[in-house]
């Protein structure tokens, strides 16, 4: 699972997120992260 910091826009992996206690950007310490769209193909019924 990948996240993007809302402030400095750096890409954050799951491992780098676990290094710090709590949910924090390892680069700038900002605490709002966006979850990226996972790279899987999504199947949707067109109704």
């Amino acid at each position: 699972m990948e996240y993007v910091c809302a402030k400095c826009k750096t890409l954050i992996t799951q491992e780098s997120l676990n290094q710090l206690p709590g949910i924090k950007c390892p680069a700038c310490g900002h605490r709002i992260l966006y979850k990226k769209r996972p790279p899987v193909i999504k199947k949707v019924r067109a109704i």
Binding site: I41, K43, V44, A46, I47
Partner: protein
């Protein structure tokens, strides 16, 4: 039964046909209307596989918008998924793949139905100018869509027509003995569709008055009671079909008649079974 085509417009903006259906009961006319609306199959997108979607619209929303795009249909080479030899799983005989790959660079891009690339040239969007969605800068949309045949009874996206309907053939009776000179002038003054004319000091109708809109009904209010009477001809209908472009109107009609005859055969078989079981 007699059919007389009175209007057939076919261009890139419109596909419309009006015809007079004569010598049938209203039940048969309504059966035709219902079959055209709900039983004549046409192509529509049923499933979408999203690879990338950075647009503001959700995947489900885009899939819904894609489903409503009318696609040109080839009834000869494709089967309904339920009747296909693959058993509805999706093979080349009952399914068409369409691809779309649009990437915006440093500008905003509008994704149109013309960006859909079909694997079969015969199955493609009727219009290239239907907007699917909009992309912001440096965003992209990549998906694969699958189109199948279906009937309007399952979903309105499969309907081959926008509107289909009929009305009684109007029969207007004018009693000139009840009309004064001023009444005639009054009717002609309010008649914006130009259906009424003054002929030898009498009120008359133009030859093809039934082609126009139904002003004749509202003309009654400008004259004394009973002077103009709008009645209908039983067993004579003006049928209007407006197609989406998925199928030509002639093909829609011939397919509807084919389906109707199949239904009659089935009805006969069922009736025979009931009669035989009751006798035994």
């Amino acid at each position: 039964m007699k059919i007389e085509v009175i209007e057939h417009i076919q261009n890139k903006n419109q596909d419309l046909m009006k015809f007079i259906l004569e010598g049938v009961t209203i039940e048969l006319a309504n059966a035709f209307r219902r079959i055209i609306l709900t039983e004549v199959p046409s192509m529509a997108i049923t499933e979408v596989l999203f690879v990338e979607n950075d647009s503001v619209l959700f995947d489900e929303m885009i899939a819904h918008r894609l489903a409503l795009i009318p696609l040109t249909t080839d009834l000869k080479n494709y089967n309904l998924p339920d009747e296909c030899s693959c058993g509805g799983q999706g093979c080349t005989l009952c399914q068409v793949q369409l691809e779309c790959d649009v990437r915006a660079q440093n500008n905003e891009v509008i994704v149109y139905s013309g960006d859909l690339k079909s694997m079969d040239e015969k199955i493609r969007p009727v219009s290239d100018n239907i907007i699917i969605g909009k992309l912001g800068k440096k965003s992209s949309i990549v998906f694969e869509a699958y189109a199948q045949l279906g009937i309007g009874m399952d979903h309105a996206k499969f309907q081959p027509v926008c509107s289909v309907g009929y009305k009684y053939f109007p029969d207007v009776k004018i009693d000139n003995s009840k009309l004064t000179e001023s009444d005639i002038d009054e009717v002609i003054k309010h008649d914006h569709t130009k259906l009424f004319i003054k002929k030898d000091g009498k009120l008359a109708l133009i030859n093809n008055y039934w082609k126009g809109q139904d002003f004749t009904g509202s003309a009654e209010r400008y004259v004394p009671h009973g002077a103009i009477k709008v009645d209908y001809v039983p067993n004579k209908f003006i049928f209007t079909i407006e197609a989406t472009g998925a199928l030509p109107i002639k093909e829609i009609l011939s397919k509807a008649i084919e389906i109707f005859l199949e239904k009659l055969d089935e009805f006969e078989d069922q009736l025979k079974k009931v009669v035989i079981t009751q006798i035994i």
